[in-house]
């Protein structure tokens, strides 16, 4: 297979009126590199969920924890409860919307914490090597040795269900993978000649890290963060499923699914509605992230 890179044409002005062959080639290339309809579909669903969750109080919804004793376990489509109510008479639609707040906050803050700390560790390990690399390596290995959920269990039991603690403990879970990706990217980057050239110019380590290494490793890392967001939402869902995430009154998707489990037979929508919403949101994050990664890495994405 001839590698196209070796045939890289020298810069030249694109011909004024590209013949149809050129136009076809440019179009084909743009399509494979473009973001595509899948991206726009998922992006629009995500914006909808974010906007609705952010402005929930203004939407004039019934309060998520207000019980309407008149309509217990109302089916979908009853008059003032479009998506019906749960056994305590609380409106399913408003609970799903307010539940989104929990999932999205966790979804964005946890990877941010994880990648933030992972970035620093990875950079230090990849750039300074030697004993720094060894110690950070052992720390990461130990962190991976304890199954993630165990840490979450201990943390949630220790500090109870505050949203902040869930984000923090979940963030800690993302540190090892982020550190490994950064370390690998830093290692390849410091091997390249432009870093050695910077050293030859007398640049200090700090300058090399900030000006030469960082701009080159930020892209693979950002692409990787896009994978963490859906994972964070899923893990938060599992936690609230076990009742270890935010405590009872505040609604969360996982909690709703767990509560709806007993009534699967009679009114399955109690579990299935939050399941569907969560699935669509997580799927959109994944698809949007993959489309962007394709754009960044030039067509052959699919890195884990």
């Amino acid at each position: 297979m001839v590698d196209l890179a070796s045939l890289r044409p020298v810069e030249g002005r694109a011909s004024a009126a590209p013949s149809d062959r050129h136009a076809r080639a440019i179009a084909e290339h743009r399509r494979s590199r473009g973001l595509g309809v899948v991206f726009w579909l998922s992006a629009s669903w995500l914006t909808l969920v974010i906007v609705v969750a952010a402005f929930a109080p203004l939407l004039g919804l019934v309060a998520p924890d207000e019980s309407d004793w008149m309509a217990l376990k109302a089916p979908i489509g009853s008059e003032n409860h479009i998506l019906g109510t749960d056994p305590l008479g609380r409106d399913v639609l408003s609970r799903v919307i307010y539940g989104a707040r929990v999932s999205l906050t966790v979804g964005f803050t946890a990877p941010a914490i994880g990648v933030g700390i992972g970035l620093v560790l990875g950079l230090a390990a990849g750039y300074y090597r030697g004993w720094v690399d060894e110690i950070i390596g052992i720390a990461i290995d130990s962190w991976l040795a304890i199954p993630g959920l165990v840490i979450l269990l201990l943390f949630s039991v220790l500090y109870g269900g505050s949203l902040f603690m869930v984000c923090l403990s979940l963030g800690l879970l993302f540190i090892p993978s982020a550190a490994r990706i950064t370390r690998a990217a830093t290692l390849t980057c410091t091997g390249r000649e432009y870093v050695i050239a910077a050293r030859a110019l007398g640049a200090s380590d700090l300058r090399i890290i900030t000006r030469e290494v960082f701009p080159n490793i930020i892209w693979p890392l950002l692409a990787f963060v896009m994978i963490d967001i859906p994972i964070a939402i899923v893990v938060e869902g599992s936690l609230s499923f076990l009742g270890l995430s935010v405590q009872a009154p505040t609604p969360s998707w996982g909690g709703m699914i767990s509560e709806g489990r007993e009534y699967l037979e009679a009114s399955p929508h109690l579990s299935l509605v939050p399941t569907a919403v969560m699935f669509l949101t997580v799927l959109s994050f994944n698809l949007a992230g993959d489309a962007m990664r394709k754009r960044v890495s030039g067509g052959r994405s699919g890195a884990i």
Binding site: S32, I146, L154
Partner: protein, 317 residues
């Protein structure tokens, strides 16, 4: 051989770091276990006496060292609540979790390997797009959601498979396997995507290599090029990811064990955490760390077998 000794030494350090940090974390747990034992109405004196008897007042480091020395002699300690030996509790549950994990991994691999090869053969072709989007759908469906849906269809509606319960092997192979199919499937549905994507990414890079062009130039058929030439050099990171998953799955199936009512290690751990049973928590975490260490070691050996260059480097190392 020196390389392998180096690896073992490093993994032992990891083991120590893990056990000590868990011990530290656990001993800070609020809601002292003494209350659990003494019951809510126990008097202060009784509580103090229980704490003394269980040695909870000694400084953490001393308790850890004491626990470690006893572990070294094979005594995993006794559960503070039931007094049952931790080791027997773990040994009793290991085969169950192990069976669940192995079944899930076999299913995951059976789907992931062919899918990975197929999608890597024609990147961005129709097969690749279909498999990748299917993968995203499975990844977007967390384990407990798949579990609920599977139960909803296969056991509630169709009634083919039991939703919960566990039959030991002694009750016959099919009787044992039957309740295991749904949990293993819901686990496999999430894990296969990660394996597939790793293999796909690696295969795509391998298929660009010169020795693949040479294989085609030798007149080898496409299937032979994919299987005999490209698969093995692309399976290195697959083995690593598999190793990580095996270690994680042993503890990670906690939720599924909860939903499907399978008495695995995961449930033992959850129960121990709720009841603040320090010694059992410590025992479980040590067991997980041990499996992680052993699996990592096996992955290293697999590397040497798969990649002759590594085997060569280590023979000198």
């Amino acid at each position: 051989m020196r390389y392998l000794l180096g690896r073992v030494q490093r993994l032992l350090i990891v083991l120590l770091v893990v056990t000590f940090s868990t011990f530290l974390l656990v001993s800070v747990l609020p809601g002292d276990v003494a209350y659990q034992i003494g019951g809510m109405d126990a008097s202060e004196a009784e509580i103090a006496e229980i704490r003394e008897e269980l040695g909870l007042n000694q400084p953490v480091v001393l308790r850890y060292l004491e626990w470690l020395t006893r572990l070294a002699q094979g005594d995993w300690g006794r559960s503070l609540l039931t007094g049952e030996s931790v080791w027997s509790m773990i040994i009793e549950r290991v085969p169950i979790s192990l069976e669940l994990m192995l079944l899930a991994q076999v299913m995951a691999l059976a789907i992931a390997v062919p899918a990975g090869i197929l999608s890597a053969w024609r990147p961005n072709g129709w097969a690749d797009r279909f498999i990748t989007s299917l993968g995203f759908a499975c990844v977007s469906m967390p384990g407990f959601m798949t579990a609920i849906l599977l139960i909803y269809f296969f056991s509630l509606h169709l009634g083919w498979l039991p939703a919960t319960g566990y039959e030991p092997l002694s009750a016959g192979l099919w009787a044992n396997l039957k309740p295991m199919i749904l949990p293993a499937l819901s686990l496999a549905l999430v894990e296969w995507t990660v394996l597939m994507r790793t293999l796909r990414a690696e295969m795509i890079t391998t298929l660009q290599e010169n020795y693949i062009s040479l294989a085609r130039a030798k007149g080898m058929s496409t299937t032979r090029v994919l299987l005999a030439h490209a698969l093995r050099p692309s399976s290195f990171s697959l083995v690593t990811i598999l190793g990580l998953q095996v270690a994680r799955l042993l503890g990670g199936a906690i939720i599924l064990e909860q939903i499907y009512g399978i008495p695995g290690i995961g449930r033992l751990l959850i129960h121990a955490v709720y009841t603040r049973d320090l010694i059992v928590i410590q025992g479980c975490v040590t067991f997980f760390a041990l499996t992680y260490v052993i699996v990592n070691f096996l992955v290293d050996l697999a590397y040497a077998w798969l990649d002759p260059r590594v085997r060569e480097a280590r023979a000198h190392g």
